[in-house]
Amino acid sequence: MELKFVLESLLFSAQKPLSAKELREVLVNAADAEDAEATVKSLAKIKEAELTPALEELARDHESAARTYRLVCVAGSWQFVTQPEYGPWVRALVGVKARPPRLSQPALETLAIIAYRQPLTRAEIEQIRGVSVDGVMQTLTERGLVESVGRAEAVGRPQTYGTTPMFLEYFGLRGLEDLPAADELRRIPAEKPPAPVTVDPGLATAAPEELKTQTETPAQTTEGEKS
């Protein structure tokens, strides 16, 4: 079994780019399998330095085969990639499959709070929602609807969150000023939790006072807030 072909089969099946070092590890692991045959065992003896010429030859093979993909080495890791001219189609493929599911109710609520109160910290969101927002924040961030926009002028300088341009696109809004008026939500006083263990009560309320001016006009705050 020629080394180059084994490497090809590996790179063809890999979910991520692989370095020569990682490829060698796979060869070694394959040889360690209980039922490993002689050919599998023999390739485990190959040195990392010997892999690179084989990989380069493989890349040349695919270059001359001139199909719709190539083997490339980026930052020391090898991977198969489609040729850029097929981008329009491949992008459509991703679009078809990546159609995101509807946002869950907790996600929508959290998003609403962020939209109307941005920028604000995770602790503030949790205070308004009354529950933890860990998973939800991750979803919203992954979906590109909210992002970190700065840090609060408070103890620990926690990150503050705001909505993204994607959020506007998602809901068909021209800007944050287009959000339907929901004064009530803007008005909910966000108090600090009843018994913070580590914070001096007197001081904890001081910082939020400071924050107040920055949270008044949600539409504008995202600009001046980057820290």
Partner: protein, 286 residues
């Protein structure tokens, strides 16, 4: 003896055993001496009995059939013909051979399936990583949530907040105004082209909001901004933008900057990663 035992364990049934016996004779199924085969089969059954193996009913049925075939062979020709006449050409020998031939084909096919099965264990599909431009930002995502969902979410937040805090009665006063609703209805219709009547109210949080939405619709229809259609009797009313009507910008008093003091707290959450420092807080408060 040991060989017998092993073999018996792998026979799927009488046909399997017969095929094994024929294979041992190295003859074609069509050329097999059935009398001899019958004798061998019965010998095997006897061995199974001797070994105290459980003999499935099918083996016994087959043994009986073979005995019958064997006995027919021993009859004089005239009597053979007589038997055949009775059975309308149903020759048990033919029946058995046909069955064996057919079974043999499927046994071979099963072996081929088995080869495919083990081959598949070594075949791996290419599952590439997601292409770089799979990032959501590059993808114009079709809105699958309307602004109403967002408003609904707002209202849930408010409702729960009230339940939790048992306060802020003024929060729950309906703040909806007809002009706000006009704006949002126009926005939704501008966005979607048309909207179902029921959809406009689906997420209304309060009677007040429903009233405001309805008044807004009436106003827009009066202003010939919107038209209503009911494609089928008792069906849902479809609301869409009136043809050639310039969307009138309904300005809405900007009430977004509330007078009520925002009291936001920055109590520690998991974002707080440093130790609390009073000095820092004071400094920030300056």
């Amino acid at each position: 003896m040991a060989e017998y035992k092993v073999q018996f364990e792998v026979f799927e049934g009488p046909l399997d055993l017969l095929l094994y016996l024929i294979k041992k004779e190295e003859v074609d199924i069509y050329e097999v001496n059935l009398t001899k085969l019958a004798t061998q089969f019965i010998e095997y059954i006897d061995t199974m009995r001797l070994l105290d193996l459980e003999i499935a009913g099918e083996f016994l049925v087959m043994a009986a059939t073979l005995m019958y075939i064997k006995s027919r062979e021993l009859l004089p020709v005239e009597q053979q013909a007589q038997v055949e006449g009775e059975e309308e050409g149903e020759d048990p020998r033919w029946e058995l051979i046909r069955q064996l031939v057919e079974y043999k084909k499927f046994k071979d096919a099963a072996a081929q399936l088995q080869a495919l099965e083990s081959r598949q264990e070594h075949v791996f599909p290419r599952i590439p990583g997601k292409p770089d431009f799979a990032e959501p930002a590059a993808e114009p995502v079709k809105p699958d949530v309307s602004i109403f969902d967002l408003l609904n979410a707002v209202n849930s937040v408010l409702k729960r907040f009230e339940q939790r805090e048992g306060q802020a009665r003024e929060i729950f006063e309906d703040k909806w105004s007809v002009s706000e609703k006009i704006e949002s209805v126009l926005k939704v219709i501008g966005e979607r082209g048309s909207v179902k009547f029921s959809d406009l109210f689906e997420n209304a949080a309060s009677r007040g909001e429903v009233v405001c939405t309805f008044l807004a619709l009436l106003e827009l229809i009066r202003l010939k901004q919107l038209v209503c259609a009911q494609p089928e009797a008792f069906g849902d009313i479809e609301i869409s933008r009136a043809v050639a009507a310039e969307p009138e910008t309904v300005t809405n008093e900007d009430e977004k900057t509330s007078n009520i003091e925002h009291r936001t707290s920055n109590a520690e959450g998991e974002d707080v990663d440093g130790p609390q420092s009073g000095a820092e807080l004071k400094e920030n408060a300056q």
